[in-house]
Symmetry: C5
Subunit: 385 residues, 5 copies
Amino acid sequence: MRDRKPEAGEAMGSDEDESYVDYHYDDPGTMPGTLSIDKNAPPPEIHLIDYDAEQSTGRRVENPEELTPYLDNHSVSWADVRGFGSEDILRRLGKVFGLHPLVLEDIVNVPQRPKVEEYKDHLLIIARMVCPTSETAEEFFSEQVSLILGKNYLLTVQEEAKFDVFGPVRERIRTAKGIICNQRADYLAYTLLDAIIDGFYPVLEDFGERLEELEAEVVENPTRATLERIYLLRRELLMLRRAIWPQRDVINALIRDANPLIGEEVRLYLRDCYDHAIQIIDMVETYRELASSLTDIYMSSVSNRMNEVMKTLTVISAIFIPLTFIAGVYGMNFDPEKSPWNMPELEWYWGYPFSLVLMFIVAVGLVVYFWRRGWFESFSSQSKK
Amino acid sequence: MRDRKPEAGEAMGSDEDESYVDYHYDDPGTMPGTLSIDKNAPPPEIHLIDYDAEQSTGRRVENPEELTPYLDNHSVSWADVRGFGSEDILRRLGKVFGLHPLVLEDIVNVPQRPKVEEYKDHLLIIARMVCPTSETAEEFFSEQVSLILGKNYLLTVQEEAKFDVFGPVRERIRTAKGIICNQRADYLAYTLLDAIIDGFYPVLEDFGERLEELEAEVVENPTRATLERIYLLRRELLMLRRAIWPQRDVINALIRDANPLIGEEVRLYLRDCYDHAIQIIDMVETYRELASSLTDIYMSSVSNRMNEVMKTLTVISAIFIPLTFIAGVYGMNFDPEKSPWNMPELEWYWGYPFSLVLMFIVAVGLVVYFWRRGWFESFSSQSKK
Amino acid sequence: MRDRKPEAGEAMGSDEDESYVDYHYDDPGTMPGTLSIDKNAPPPEIHLIDYDAEQSTGRRVENPEELTPYLDNHSVSWADVRGFGSEDILRRLGKVFGLHPLVLEDIVNVPQRPKVEEYKDHLLIIARMVCPTSETAEEFFSEQVSLILGKNYLLTVQEEAKFDVFGPVRERIRTAKGIICNQRADYLAYTLLDAIIDGFYPVLEDFGERLEELEAEVVENPTRATLERIYLLRRELLMLRRAIWPQRDVINALIRDANPLIGEEVRLYLRDCYDHAIQIIDMVETYRELASSLTDIYMSSVSNRMNEVMKTLTVISAIFIPLTFIAGVYGMNFDPEKSPWNMPELEWYWGYPFSLVLMFIVAVGLVVYFWRRGWFESFSSQSKK
Amino acid sequence: MRDRKPEAGEAMGSDEDESYVDYHYDDPGTMPGTLSIDKNAPPPEIHLIDYDAEQSTGRRVENPEELTPYLDNHSVSWADVRGFGSEDILRRLGKVFGLHPLVLEDIVNVPQRPKVEEYKDHLLIIARMVCPTSETAEEFFSEQVSLILGKNYLLTVQEEAKFDVFGPVRERIRTAKGIICNQRADYLAYTLLDAIIDGFYPVLEDFGERLEELEAEVVENPTRATLERIYLLRRELLMLRRAIWPQRDVINALIRDANPLIGEEVRLYLRDCYDHAIQIIDMVETYRELASSLTDIYMSSVSNRMNEVMKTLTVISAIFIPLTFIAGVYGMNFDPEKSPWNMPELEWYWGYPFSLVLMFIVAVGLVVYFWRRGWFESFSSQSKK
Amino acid sequence: MRDRKPEAGEAMGSDEDESYVDYHYDDPGTMPGTLSIDKNAPPPEIHLIDYDAEQSTGRRVENPEELTPYLDNHSVSWADVRGFGSEDILRRLGKVFGLHPLVLEDIVNVPQRPKVEEYKDHLLIIARMVCPTSETAEEFFSEQVSLILGKNYLLTVQEEAKFDVFGPVRERIRTAKGIICNQRADYLAYTLLDAIIDGFYPVLEDFGERLEELEAEVVENPTRATLERIYLLRRELLMLRRAIWPQRDVINALIRDANPLIGEEVRLYLRDCYDHAIQIIDMVETYRELASSLTDIYMSSVSNRMNEVMKTLTVISAIFIPLTFIAGVYGMNFDPEKSPWNMPELEWYWGYPFSLVLMFIVAVGLVVYFWRRGWFESFSSQSKK
């Protein structure tokens, strides 16, 4: 998993420093409530959508204080904030929405573990959205999104919004499509959570395809790169699992805890969302088991290859070494003239043909022996491929 | 697991795209309640069976609205719907039975995870039925079936009904066999669930046979294809496990939750059904452990083979290389005439026989050495096979 | 695990069809309560033992109806039924004891998973008894026994009673030994359950011996058959585990559930029985871990052997190949007469001894090199064995 | 784990029969309450220590009945029994302390699983004490000790007391050291349990040392014996784990269950004892994981060695085989006189030097090739060791 | 994990005795409450910080009794003790703070398992702080710190304070930065716990870097040292896991148990601290899985290398052995003059060129054969690296 700055085509073991410790932490002993601001990041952009059953308006907001009137009106107000570039604006935002310093810290000091926390007049939901990278980079994007749900407003804060899973929802509000405009802010929060959870499916599909490719590769042409890809896949699946597991608990907590901010009807919808989270977890676990089995197959493919190599060596050596020995014998220089026992074959009329026939018989004998032990099968099966 | 369109004889790693992400998902941000309709699918067929202790009638129904009168009469009415080809008919069906949009979505957007959900006047049960493929394709069919149980009606919705596990039940109602006709709709729902659960046994038996074949194969003639088959089996078992686990929870929930739609007597029967689900899970876990052990045996068979190959090479090389060396020595061209020390053996009367005897002694010595270290056992044991 | 018809000496992978799907199942859609009767099986034999503190009588009963008077008298009546050959007698038996059709199905359609179920006036306990085979067949017998415990009667139903774990109990009643005759039917049920659980110990002992044999074999002389035996052992342990786990739950349920049919004193005894079940599970798990470790040792033994083989090949080749090269050099036919540079060694007075000494030095050098790298240790350690 | 008769230096797979089924069991169907007495064992020795805050007395007791007066006095009475050689004395002991037959059975028929059971006026605690063997035998002693805690007495029963973990406690009472003499019998029971639990630490330390030795051995000089030692260690750890796990539950039960025999203050001390049990379990699990990792390292060391062997063979073969070929070419007997094309090199003035230079170039080329592929690194790293 | 005396650069298997049994234990039978004092350790240093919203003072305290007045005043008093060199001072400290002998034992006899225990007027928290070693030693420092939280005082006791995670907190109090000075002692305890938990992050980061290095190493240049480093990493991760798991439970207990010493507001902050502990556990588990996967890759890299070696040997041998055979044939000494059948090739005009061409054809044929089987790919891919 790569936060914020993924680069395509990175090899395993290269400069992936920050992807490893992928939770935010301050230096030990830092004061709670301290915000970690990257000065070079773009300043926050605030978009407001205000709607009810009759109408919907959307506008860009410059100062957080402009949002104050919307918190108490009767329409649903959705403030969407992107980017963490200015501590000042973020703190003013916290003031407008009456956020505890720890809440603001959780929102800004990404990444945090997904969780839900109840406060007096609002609910903090930390979620994590994912998105497949479009290139062949074997990774996926991942960003934290925080939802603060109040009585009739919803504040969402995203890191950078490199990808926009909220687009279709915004569109549905704008075109007043579906029942969303008749519902309260809790339904909007559900809709966004649902979009976040559903965003895992394309990543899973991506993983499924990589798994299939690896299956084919591991059987047909396993190389060391194959194993590295399997390892990368397993690592990514661990990351994905760590992203989805706590979100399941988040949704479960929203359904189970009788918080008055979440209506009964919306709980019904959340149950559906919970089912999806369970399904995704199921898939991730299945993929992990399959990826783990692939390692076994890889190892065995390597062993099989070695077997082939050894058989080739053995067959060729075992056939020619005895022949070479026979040739060596008749290359000895014992003097036939000194004694009738000294290499009389050399003097025979049929001596040379005799030696060749002898070699031929030995060679055929060995070939037949190996044939009957089935060592040639692999060669033919190999060449058929 | 293959949904709807299994094709026999597919090799691992080939075009199995959809079998991997085997849960339904919409594009993130899609409106809840959206139905995914495959326009080319056949339109739904609706069959109605209406029965009580005295009589039973069955007929084909064209319009969902025709079912309305049956929902309130005193006999048990079983409406069986197959195929999802028409959104219009499905929506009208939802209206007739008063289904929540999310229920309709769960029914139509297959596959969903098996689950049970309570609504005001009906119970939604999502189940998954399986069936072995008749051919040698190492897979099994799998289809979702949704049951909506009302006071005296049962609506079942199947994907395509490529296989019919409900046939025997239909027959039992038609022939008024057994106690089924004296019972209410809850008993009918139990009977169908029981048929679905029992449908796992033939698939398991199929798997048991494949496991046995693989056991024999892995010992007698392990090839790379064997390992692929083991991998496929493990993958299928993962799929089967994912299908049966949630169904156990479904049945357990039906027994435990005191829903008035399920009578006390039927709960007794469901306990029996629950036992079967547990047994199936037991078997699946056992098979998974055995399949995992088979991989070990495979690896060791491959190693054993390599051992044989190496021994063959070593025995032949180790015997002939020293002999060839001796022959090479007596093939040197030192001139015996220049000095009495220059290869006097060449001039000996018994020189050549001496060299042959020397070779023979070396060869026999090596053979005896290898014999005593037990290297020939494997050859004889090999040939005995 | 083999049900009913074990045959000794079966090899792995041979005709073990029914041992794999070892739970009973009907064709999907079969009516609940259907009994699967094997027409060729012997008809049920019914033995009745009636006893109280004063006396005990035992007799063979032909018709189930003869048992009726015993159900209500004050003495303890134990009816022991063996064999399932007649559906008629079984159904009449069910009538006499007032058994629910599902109970009768559970009793007859073996094998079922061990369980306990409460009915209005009796308790159904499904248990599984095991027994080691006396021969070397690496399996164990296993049979289902069902106990129906009423107020002052106990009905036990066994498959075939190929082995009799109830014999000692029957003897204790006949000889009025121990406190058994002063106790009620619940104590009798405990005594039988205890005998069933204790019957696992000899099987475990059998397994322990096989494990030890395998330990010795894997170290001293690992062959492919060793691995197959390990695999068989692991498979059997899985079966044994599946037999004992649910029985622990059965006994726990009997202790925990405050069923009036089980007296307080007997619960105390059952606690003892529960301890034994836990111990057996402990042993099974330990054996499974050890069997799994043995596979590792096996693999490493195979690797070690290959190492020995390779070392032998390498030492012999590495020593003789350079020597053969030297011999080959002096076997070249360059004409010394054409030039003083053409193989002057051949003309030297000490040419031949020089070449032999050269070879000797090379050989000794290589032997010393290999010696210092410790390659000869394995040969000597090998021969010491 | 070895009960009662450990012998040093046993090799794996040798006569370790009884260590495998290491729980006591009777023949199935044996009457509950039967005691298994080994007639050859020494008769029980009974030691009594009676103490209160003022004084303490210790004496040897011959007849169990002599203990009766001590059960009701106000001082704390600790009766320590060792050896099971006489059924008569054991039964009389049971009578004096009012023990249920099942309790007596649990005490005598060792080994039992550690457990705690409440009776009307006493508490039965079955514990297991361990002790490292002083020799190099890679095992540990293990003995059952049963504690019966009454209002102001404690009865402890040990198998043979081959080792005495209670010595320091006895000494503390005798010298009136610590607060023990001001406390009741429950504190004494805690003190003994604490001594038993603390007795696991030296065994663990022993295991830690063996693990370290194995780590060094597996890296420096892995032999087959190393793997056997790892296997033995794993087996022993399984045994140790089986001994400590249930004792944790025993202590937890003593803390949690509000038994009046255990005072509030002693519960506080038991919490400390519980912490130790948890620590020991932590260590055992850690050791198990490390031992399991060692197997991996062993396997890889074996593979690495094979790699070295193969490289040696390959380098030597690959260098000399081409040279031998060249020598073979110039050893051919084509007659240069028959044609100018027939081996003119043989007639060249620089023919022989040319051939030697050719061989030298080939050899250097191959050496450079292997050097650049890094094959010589392992040789030098090898020799540095 | 190394307690107190880590030395850099230790190799696996060397003198790491005490790191293995890393929990404190006394000889079995030792009296509870005994303190293990290392006489050579420095005497305890006591630092007192007393602060409220208005002011803060810090001083060094010589005698524990000087602390008494601070326990009851209204400001928050933080006594920080380092070093265990004097039993006298420690016992006096225990008296001043009214500590139970077992509490003192837990504090002094390090290391203990992290835990929280409630006493009448204070809370004992045993925690464990970690710190990466600055050198390349692949270990981390670890020290126990005990917190005794009273109504308005906090006593912290550290082993040696080789590293100071409390420094920033002390600084924040001194400079009256943040809200800390307005808070009670419970907030101070939270702040310190938070610093301890956050101290795990740098260690994790260290581990993440080592994991990356190992990933690169295992792919590019796996040596035996790589595997040893992986093993060390796994061992360290086990240690780290054992340190963090119980601390999570500690924080959870503080949040959950309604102890009046911990205010509601501080519980909110502890929730944040709990999240961090969960995150750390997540990371540790992820690292463990990755480290375990690395072992697989290592094994496969070794196998791959062996494959390369074998291929090289096979290609060279397989090409030259047949050639050498041909050369051997024409080196035989059959006398062409004795018969026209005796090696007529030797007399041919084109005999020698014919033999060279024959060899060339055979060699090219074999090269093409190996080429088509893809054996040369690895050589080229190898050299590209």
